[in-house]
Symmetry: C2
Subunit: 596 residues, 2 copies
Amino acid sequence: MEPMTSLRAWMASRGFQVTIIPSNDCHFDEYVPARFKVREYLSGFDGSAGTLVVTLTEAALWTDSRYFLQAERQIKGRGIELMKIKMPGTPSIPQWIESCRKASGIAPEQYKVGVDGDLFSYDDYFAFCKELAPMPLETFSDPFDSLWPGRPSLGDSPILLHKEEYAGRSVSDKYRDVVSNLGIEGPFCLFLSACDEIMWLLNIRGGDIEYNAVTLSYCLLDNKGIKLFCRKECLTGEASDYLASQGVEVLSYGEIDAALEAVPAEAVRIVSNNCCSINKYKIFSRGKAVMPDPTVGGTVAMLRACKNPVQAQGFRQAFLQDGVCWVRLLKYIYDNYGSGSLNEYNITQKLLEIKSGSAHYLGESFEPIVAWNANAASAHYSVTDEASSARVAGGGFLLMDLGSHYPYGTTDTTRTVFLGEKEPTAAQKEDFTLVLKGMIALAEAIFPAGTRGCQLDILARGPMYRTGKMYFHGTSHGIGQWLCVHESPQIRMEYSPIALQEGMIMSDEPAVYVDGQYGIRTENVVLVSPFAKSDYNTFYRFETLTLVPIDRRAVDFSLLTDAERAWLEAYNKRVYDALQSHLTDAERAWLADYIK
Amino acid sequence: MEPMTSLRAWMASRGFQVTIIPSNDCHFDEYVPARFKVREYLSGFDGSAGTLVVTLTEAALWTDSRYFLQAERQIKGRGIELMKIKMPGTPSIPQWIESCRKASGIAPEQYKVGVDGDLFSYDDYFAFCKELAPMPLETFSDPFDSLWPGRPSLGDSPILLHKEEYAGRSVSDKYRDVVSNLGIEGPFCLFLSACDEIMWLLNIRGGDIEYNAVTLSYCLLDNKGIKLFCRKECLTGEASDYLASQGVEVLSYGEIDAALEAVPAEAVRIVSNNCCSINKYKIFSRGKAVMPDPTVGGTVAMLRACKNPVQAQGFRQAFLQDGVCWVRLLKYIYDNYGSGSLNEYNITQKLLEIKSGSAHYLGESFEPIVAWNANAASAHYSVTDEASSARVAGGGFLLMDLGSHYPYGTTDTTRTVFLGEKEPTAAQKEDFTLVLKGMIALAEAIFPAGTRGCQLDILARGPMYRTGKMYFHGTSHGIGQWLCVHESPQIRMEYSPIALQEGMIMSDEPAVYVDGQYGIRTENVVLVSPFAKSDYNTFYRFETLTLVPIDRRAVDFSLLTDAERAWLEAYNKRVYDALQSHLTDAERAWLADYIK
């Protein structure tokens, strides 16, 4: 039976007129384990963001502008309508459901909408309840073990120790920090369900989600200590011993509900970051008020976001090693460009081969993007096989967005290089240079304590506006240490209420995308560092961590100020100085020539 | 009897343990008519912002950093403690009241706190209720007609017509705009109590508040039309005829309560901008829900903020005339500097003399600031008499912040000039130049639709951060047309959620204040104008309206980019070109020399 047919049969048997299928797992991770990719299984659309809504006769998929083209292609012929989020005329999910209901002639009170109560946050659930009323919204339990033949299992990725020599702080230290920052008098219980917060807190790492070093888990933190709920059998001896040494009680993943129920009545209940499913919320709150996390951005998330000096040093080491790999990859591309044999796929394979030789390399931190010309105009392009891969020949921009995990740091670097015999056009040079100007302007910002990301965003975006162009993604995201490459809370700095704080590590990635022609993005990663303390305030600057040369060929130097020219020269020189002792003679000579 | 003694006697007679005296009038105007300056009468402190709290034995005054020094001086010896807002250790008003109560030994339920219900917005009132509980918060009616001997009357300033040839739209047109932007189906009633919103809507102006062309008034706008509540006897024949021609019903100021009570039960009640006293709110809402204004920033306020082309042209004319006055004043200062006779007071007098010769000049738009060296380090300095006025001699920075009302436009310009034979120091030049760089950067911004002020603020602030200095006031405020020089909603752009829109007129005024030495502020006024429309978005730019030369003497040209140098030269040339035909030969020659 077709996936949608099975689902509809199940819906009919349960009396649901509609089901809403989000892209979440139970922990609201940005990316989800394969077994939670139900929306992809049903719709064929495999982008990272999308919500599928299925009635007994209709279906529609909501996704954002990053995925319009891809979704259109992937859902074709499946009887699913594409709903383009934020475009004029696109109905909201409740509006669309209401229009289906009207067409069906069924009374609202009889038009039962179902959601998996583990996959909806309590915020979203209550919002939908309100908007759908008087249609009833009911939760159900995951039916896909039977509806999805061959559904992937969660696997048995080991839960590893993240050594204190890299983490910089013990779990006991972090526990004290969290308790002190919560600042609650008397008994309390903090419920964590965001896996990367739990990994950070407990100095462990997992492998349940591709590229993200997390294990599915819950955590309760109260006046007495920490309880971890995970697949105990996956814990390595090292991790298990460490957790025991730190007084962490380890329970089975399935024991969380009983533990939530057992929270003493008098304890102040706190959920972190609104990241809590309606099912867990109901158990946790049962008759008691639940308090939102008292720290803007989340108590644990803010502590995790501010890297300590040991962590910062680890990131520096990671970026140094990554820089060496990048130089090898770039040299390979330039050496082989003339042969006409390069394509997006074999460049990606070469990259992985080079990285596999880098000490302590644990894998890529996200799906590598190697995109040639027009392929780079969609911001999240990635190539999966050689057959569909573009030949890198004939001249143009090659955009590469690549990142690595090391136990001491995670990298994320984008470079766009201009290849070919023909010189870039004036428009290509202008676009490349304005992106570079934006990247430099943000990297060079000095700002006082209390400055929020939205107050700096214009520095990266501003130069491109003169051409009437802009990019529609965020300028910056936080980066986890051998964790999630997109780390809250400073993600999407243009709206975040979070003030930037010392130790935050974040990307600086302005871009421009010209439909059907090319995409240009230049991304460095920066560390919020002290600049000055005066009678007026404490001021911060960014330290650039990335050590990958920036291509000069498409730079229109007449568009740069003296300071920007000096910045570019000094940056490439710094890259050379840092990397040269780790390069072969041939690589060193190539790099010296490349940055000239 | 001393003012505080009379107040306490009255409090005792009414059973109040505490009264809270804000700086408001009944309309929450930024500045208030003299008869509402009760806080000043009681405390001696005449700054624009401050809240006095009086118990039967204690008193304390809360004010912000702009006024710490001034307040300290003015309240000295009056038994009032200064509470520095946002400084570590400063209690909130409810915290302080609670500590007084504890000291008194009186039970909370008996410790009655009183406020004038016409001077507290409903938001503030409910917030205080919550924070003070279980202490009771009760409203009283203004007792100061009897407690304040010689209390100023409101006067009888005429209510004048603001001609359509300047306003650019009729009241009927504006009524239709408001109704359409409210977008409410069925009966509704919008209650306006912000005087400048009412003036704008009805094309009238008043003179109840110094510098602000408003008359104290209320307004109800419903499906049938507009009712204005004002001192009818102050209406000029012209204004009265115009209002009649537009179908506006004019009632007495005192009739508002009856009209609020008569709003039909079925009408959706809307208050604009939360600018509604708890007294009026209680009458308006009686048993019915009151809806906040559906437009972020306020429906009327947003319409008023976006000037139409006729208004924009009027502002250009106002800035042209003001530019001529500025050149005359600057020439006078430079011509007479050598004589040693200049002081802050006689420069201000000269300014008023010059302006009185400018066609259609209606008066200053705020209290003129002429501040020499260290006097300019406090951002809101103003001089009131010759005796206390500093002699402008010996070299240094003279900061002048001046504005005019014309019927077609209002100006607000700050220039800082360096006078004397000795050259400015490197630090002085650096400070002056970094302020200028910030002003230029904001003026030159290009930005897409949807950009909020907070996203541009860094452009003005950023350059100064490198020196570890910053200013603590806003970078920008909206400007009313012959109305309030500080016009919402784009005031304090660093926090405002308002997206900048075509036609908004706003200041661009970065600054630096060096305690005990000098203040430097350079302020131009800009108009949000179309820049480009592309496949990506609609983009805006700023048109600079101000036409006053910028002093070059303290510019460190080595700190400017080529583009900034060109901007400065082009700007001063543009000023010359625009003004020259309105100047005498001597003035023209002086200006040509000054900008060289």
